[in-house]
């Protein structure tokens, strides 16, 4: 057991050290949601009228609405970016180093996932802090209640990235993933507009949004920030996370050999 924890600590610490050395990346990752919040949302505020929907008990501004979605955005982009780094690591070899450690491969991958999720969560809280200074406040205890929701969502999205990284043969293919995974996942979700609003324009799009795991991750975070309980979103996020993790394990299984490369 001790061996498992030693490895976990080392892998998380390595992610933390990488993060310290890549401050530019941290700032860049923060700029993205802030641009959405301060520019995009300001523009859309007038165009979109939001009625009172749970967990909100009063009318809210559009900026307030999209904050949980932007938290999800940080997790989504980071999850994918870390899988990008996995594809890169695999090409350069440090992933090989990790995989030759005498521990179950599933555990090693989970440790890696936990490390990147922890860093993402740090970014989310920095984003929430900046949003706070711009007057977008949540329930004070909501900031704490959101932590497990952020953790679960981060793990789920990270597992998706991990699964994708095992199936992508080369780094170049990753641009395709950005276009075909990240953007559709983000736009076809409740991050930017509530589902009932989507239904007004297209019930089909609404249905697609409703099955998108990212929608549920965002709703889980949204409800937690307002100290509300959303078991349905929780279930979706956990089930999707388990499926993605299983896919990742399958992809990285040495016998399946998805990471086989021509010698």
């Amino acid at each position: 057991m001790m061996r498992y924890l030693t490895a976990l600590r080392a892998i998380v610490l390595r992610e933390a050290l990488r993060f310290v050395h890549q401050r530019e990346r941290f700032i860049a990752a923060l700029v993205r949601p802030l641009v959405w919040l301060l520019v995009f949302a300001a523009g859309f505020r007038a165009a979109l009228g939001l009625s009172i929907i749970p967990p909100y008990q009063t009318y809210i501004t559009y900026e307030t609405y999209i904050v949980p979605g932007l938290c999800g955005m940080v997790l989504l982009f980071n999850g994918m970016q870390s899988s990008l780094s996995l594809v890169y690591d695999r090409e350069t070899g440090s992933m090989r180093l990790l995989l030759t450690a005498p521990l179950p491969r599933g555990w090693l991958l989970f440790c890696k996932l936990l490390g990147t999720t922890a860093i993402s969560i740090l970014q989310v809280y920095t984003f929430l802090l900046i949003a706070y200074f711009f007057g977008i406040e949540m329930e004070p205890l909501g900031y704490i209640a959101a932590l497990p929701a952020l953790m679960l969502s981060g793990l789920m999205l990270g597992a998706l990235g991990l699964a994708l990284s095992s199936f992508i043969k080369q780094l170049e293919n990753f641009a395709g993933v950005m276009n075909f995974v990240i953007f559709p996942m983000f736009f076809l979700s409740s991050a930017l507009y509530p589902l009932w609003k989507m239904a007004e324009s297209s019930p089909l799009l609404r249905d697609i949004c409703a099955v998108n795991p990212f929608t549920h991750a965002v709703e889980l975070i949204r409800f937690a920030l307002y100290l509300e309980w959303n078991p349905w979103a929780l279930l979706w996020t956990v089930v999707a996370g388990a499926i993605f993790m299983a896919l990742a394990l399958w992809g990285y299984d040495p016998a399946r050999g998805m990471i086989k490369r021509k010698g």
């Binding site: 001790m2 061996r3 030693t6 490895a7 600590r9 080392a10 892998i11 610490l13 390595r14 050290l17 990488r18 050395h21 890549q22 090409e91 350069t92 070899g93 440090s94 090989r96 180093l97 990790l98 995989l99 030759t100 450690a101 005498p102 521990l103 179950p104 090693l108 040495p254 016998a255 050999g257 990471i259 086989k260 490369r261 021509k262 010698g263």
Partner: protein
């Protein structure tokens, strides 16, 4: 229980293309074995299988007496690997890189620190432990990777074209060093290369070509009166 490395009837295909065909060899404990083969001979595939990056259902691999497929963790725990591509975290110091690796092998705290110091000393880089890997030249990066591969006191050391990209002096120095490690510490070494000047006469030589073993024996015996280069070119049809 043997501390060597044994491969039995190993076969592996990428789709319909056979990359390794019935490869077998047995390296006694404490021997330096050179796996010599031209590019594309199947060396990297063999390393992929030896390090369990992927597996094959045809054939068996024993590392220090442990069967890799049955006891992967015990087998990997006895193995030190230096990969062809560099795997150091360039933003971390040498010591941080080794500490990370030690932890992956379940070593931490004082016992890890002692082993790291000893591994660095063996490779003659202990005075640079606090430097970032980025600041090291190619030769020293390789030394760091070899030191790292020794931190957990493995019985078998695998090196996949460890001198690739190094200048002649660094190449010579690393080759000598690993030979010395083998002689001093009784380490079993598998050294994959396509360069004949890295193989000594006293080494065990395994020639791999097009996925098959063409020759296996003491280097001096195999090459006879020819230079190793001529022998190798004749064997592999001038494929170097």
């Amino acid at each position: 229980m043997s501390n060597g490395l044994r491969v039995e009837s190993l076969t592996f295909s990428y789709g319909s293309k056979k990359a390794l065909n019935n490869v077998s060899f047995d390296i006694a404990p404490g021997r330096f074995a050179a796996l010599l083969g031209p590019n594309g001979a199947g060396k990297s595939t063999l390393f992929g299988l030896l390090t369990r990056l992927f597996t094959s259902s045809d054939g068996k691999i024993y590392v220090a007496g442990q069967e890799l497929a049955r006891n992967p963790r015990q087998a990997l725990g006895q193995m030190g690997v230096v990969f062809q591509s560099q795997t150091l975290d360039l933003d971390l110091t040498i010591r941080q890189n080794l500490t990370y690796f030690a932890a992956l092998h379940g070593l931490s705290g004082k016992s890890a620190a002692i082993r790291i110091d000893s591994a660095l000393e063996r490779l003659g880089i202990q005075d640079r432990a606090g430097e970032k890997a980025r600041g090291l030249n190619g030769g020293h990066r390789r030394r760091t990777e070899i030191a790292r591969a020794l931190v957990h006191n493995p019985k078998v050391l695998l090196l996949d074209e460890a001198t690739v990209g190094l200048d002649a002096a660094a190449r010579q120095s690393i080759t000598d060093h690993v030979h010395q490690l083998c002689a001093d510490d009784g380490l079993t070494v598998l050294w994959a290369t396509h360069l004949t000047d890295e193989v000594y006469d006293s080494d065990r030589l395994v020639v791999l070509h097009q996925g098959q073993i063409l020759a296996d024996g003491e280097c001096a015996d195999l090459r006879g009166d020819q230079t190793l280069k001529d022998y190798f070119l004749a064997k592999t049809g001038g494929a170097e």
